[in-house]
């Protein structure tokens, strides 16, 4: 996750670009489900909490000549992983901040597996507030030109029974407009707006500024890099040996 710039290039009129995307948001709003829908076109009714972060890639064709590859970091939403987030959003070209449109006051309890965690979550926060906090953090600390999309997930619940909606779309949309974010209400379950969300991000990304495509070249793959590392790469965990 060292400084990785968007990779891209032109070959015979076709454009290819690669971007790092990070998903952030409160626990259990459906970040992993959105990614799974986008990458694998699958949905699990029951998912356990993400541990750490998962890394997935997906390539989409914007038009006949333009391909965009997303390197997606699906982060864990639980509070205890909060301190890791910078590691994942650093150098990210785009971010999807997810909230749960059915959830106004209190966050859902994480699955029973994490009983201990429930006790340690200090602030129970509406997931949109949490999303706003993430946006703020990104705008303050992430890439200057990061493209942020706000995604209100679980749209299927509201379609079935409108009284479940806790956050009016208009409110979120207005916030998104003020903060300069893309905005979608999505359903990972029905796939509604999922592809649209990522496509909209891809369209907003600076394709033309992407540098030459040079990753995955044979040189890099052939083994271990023996060049001396930059001195600032030492991790914080005190277990280097």
């Amino acid at each position: 996750m060292s400084a990785r710039m968007p990779q891209g290039g032109r070959q015979g009129g076709s454009r290819f670009a690669q971007f790092k995307l990070v998903l952030l948001g409160e626990s259990a709003v459906g970040k992993s489900s959105l990614v799974l829908r986008f990458v694998k076109d699958q949905f699990d009714d029951y998912r356990e909490s993400t541990i750490g972060a998962a890394f997935l890639t997906q390539t989409i064709a914007l038009d006949e000549s333009t391909t965009v590859k997303f390197e997606i970091w699906d982060t864990a939403g639980q509070e205890r992983y909060k301190s890791l987030a910078p590691m994942y959003y650093r150098n990210a070209n785009c971010a999807v901040v997810v909230y749960d449109i059915t959830q106004a006051v209190s966050g859902p309890k994480p699955p029973a597996v994490c009983a201990v965690t429930v006790l340690t979550v200090p602030v129970v926060q509406a997931s949109l507030d949490k999303a706003k906090a993430w946006v703020k953090e990104l705008q303050r600390q992430a890439n200057e030109n990061i493209i942020i999309a706000l995604a209100g997930n679980k749209l299927d619940l509201v379609t079935d029974s409108p009284d479940k909606r806790a956050i009016p779309a208009a409110d979120a949309e207005q916030y998104a407009r003020e903060a300069g974010l893309l905005f979608f209400e999505t359903s990972a379950k029905t796939a509604e707006n999922v592809r649209e969300l990522f496509t909209a991000i891809a369209r907003k990304l600076p394709l033309d500024q992407a540098g030459p495509r040079n990753i995955r070249s044979g040189v890099q793959r052939s083994g271990v890099d023996l060049r001396p590392e930059a001195s600032n790469t030492q991790g914080a965990g005190g277990c280097n040996c």
Binding site: M1, V39, A54, L56, L84, D225, G235, A236, C239
Partner: protein, 447 residues
């Protein structure tokens, strides 16, 4: 369990052999078995890639609780190995008409070659010892890299590629024993039907090989045992050395710095002589010893082998020695069992830590179900209870092993065809490096 299987192998073999050989004297069987144990060292690592349990982890799978790992794999590891899964693969490929074709599929090509050359050696007198060593060499290199902590996660790299080597070399011959290639090599098919000659004894090799993995004694401060130590060191069949481009010793397979300094000096002189002449030294032969030299950035790596391996094979083995300093532990897990570990010399993997990792992977479904790769901060209290490590996890599907696992539902633990590569690093930012390592590993394993 191991015994049963060994017996099964025996039975199978007997039935596959021509009727005249069906009643082998018990001690012959034993001899053969012993010999095969040596040969099957080669199978050992391959088994790990294909997902079956290997000897040092058998206790884990049997009792569910990982026992303490041995402090350092030494000679006894070698001794243990043959008692179990080395030959386990054999009986599974039933219904083969003859030993040859059976071996072709059930065992790695290397083994076949060693079987054949074993026969060959006896029947065509002029065959040199070196030829038979060639094949044992595969075994040694594998077990060597397996037994040695400092070996890379890419331990299989050399050997599996070596396998490909052999295949391309003998590909046709293996299918049809009557090809000119075999004849040219003095191979006589009928020789195979004799049990006694199938695994020829080679006392010199036996002795040297037996002690190949013994540690060289420590030199006493007064130097009184110098001669003994030097002798031990010289009798090793294979040496690896890593030295800096300035000639500083960095690593040696056998012996400590003090012991090898002189040799490092010589090696360094040779290398720099040729470097000075702008004509890099790649390798040379002295007697029956092959020297292969590889320069890698600021490092010079040297392989010295009496085992008759090709330069390519030795080069691959050297390649495997250079492990990223960021990799702390490398684990391969198949069917909920630990198959292979790479760890630093100073740190064994604590059983409790292993348990923790397994619990995380197989009891909580999220990692497995995620379908991607994971980068997980975790604390291994047995290793260091005050800091975090980072674990790279990638589940592979065996059916199309070049592709990361796609759509496996969160199923119960211990699914047989679940293979996961775990790479643990203290480097927070090490994800992409670990990922590359995974790619290399997968690439090599699927060649």
């Amino acid at each position: 369990m191991a015994d049963d299987n060994t017996n099964e192998v025996e039975a199978k073999h007997k039935s596959d052999l021509s009727p005249s050989d069906a009643n082998i004297k018990p001690q012959d069987v034993n001899n053969m078995d012993e010999d095969r144990n040596k040969n099957t060292l080669a199978v050992y690592v391959q088994d790990t890639t294909s997902g079956s349990a290997s000897p040092n982890i058998n206790p884990v799978s049997r009792e569910g609780t990982p026992p303490p790992l041995p402090p350092r794999p030494r000679h006894q590891l070698l001794e243990e190995r043959p008692t179990s899964s080395g030959t386990l693969k054999l009986p599974k490929s039933g219904g083969r008409p003859s030993l040859q074709s059976k071996a072709t599929t059930a065992l790695s090509q290397q083994d076949i070659q060693s079987f054949y050359n074993g026969g060959k050696e006896v029947h065509s007198k002029p065959a040199s010892r070196q030829l038979s060593f060639t094949n044992f060499g595969f075994g040694i290199s594998r077990s060597g890299s397996d037994a040695d902590d400092s070996a890379s996660v890419k331990s299989f790299a050399p050997t599996l590629e070596a396998g490909a080597d052999v295949e391309s070399l003998l590909g046709e011959a293996l299918q049809d024993q009557e090809t000119p290639a075999w004849k040219a090599m003095g191979f006589r098919p009928d020789g195979l039907h004799s049990e006694e000659t199938l695994f020829a004894e080679d006392p010199y090799f036996e002795r040297a090989f037996k002690h190949e993995f013994d540690e060289v004694d420590e030199m006493k401060p007064d130097g009184s045992n110098e001669a003994i130590v030097m002798n031990q060191w010289r009798s090793k069949l294979k040496h690896f050395m890593i030295l800096s481009s300035a000639g500083k010793p960095i690593y040696s397979r056998h012996g400590d710095d003090q012991l090898i300094t002189n040799y490092i000096g010589i090696v360094q002189t040779l290398i720099s002589f040729y470097q000075g002449a702008k004509n890099e030294l790649k390798g040379f032969t002295a007697g029956d010893v092959r020297f292969v030299i590889m320069s890698k950035g600021p490092l010079n790596l040297v392989a010295i082998s009496r085992l008759g391996e090709s330069d390519g094979q030795l080069r691959n083995q050297l390649e495997a020695l250079t492990r990223s300093p960021n990799l702390l532990y490398g684990l391969i897990v198949a069917g909920g069992r630990l198959v292979s570990v790479v760890r630093p010399k100073k740190h064994s993997l604590h059983p409790g830590d292993l348990h923790l990792i397994f619990n995380m992977l197989f009891e909580a479904g999220s990692v497995k179900a995620g379908g991607g790769e994971n980068w997980i901060p975790l604390c291994l209290p047995g290793f260091n209870n005050t800091g975090f490590l980072y674990m790279y996890v990638s589940f592979l599907s065996l059916t199309q092993s070049s592709e990361p696992l796609n759509d496996r539902p969160a199923s119960s633990a211990g699914d047989e065809d679940e293979v996961a590569i775990l790479l643990i690093s203290a480097e927070k930012e090490g994800f992409h490096e670990m990922r590359q390592m995974r790619d290399v590993l997968v690439e090599v394993a699927t060649v």
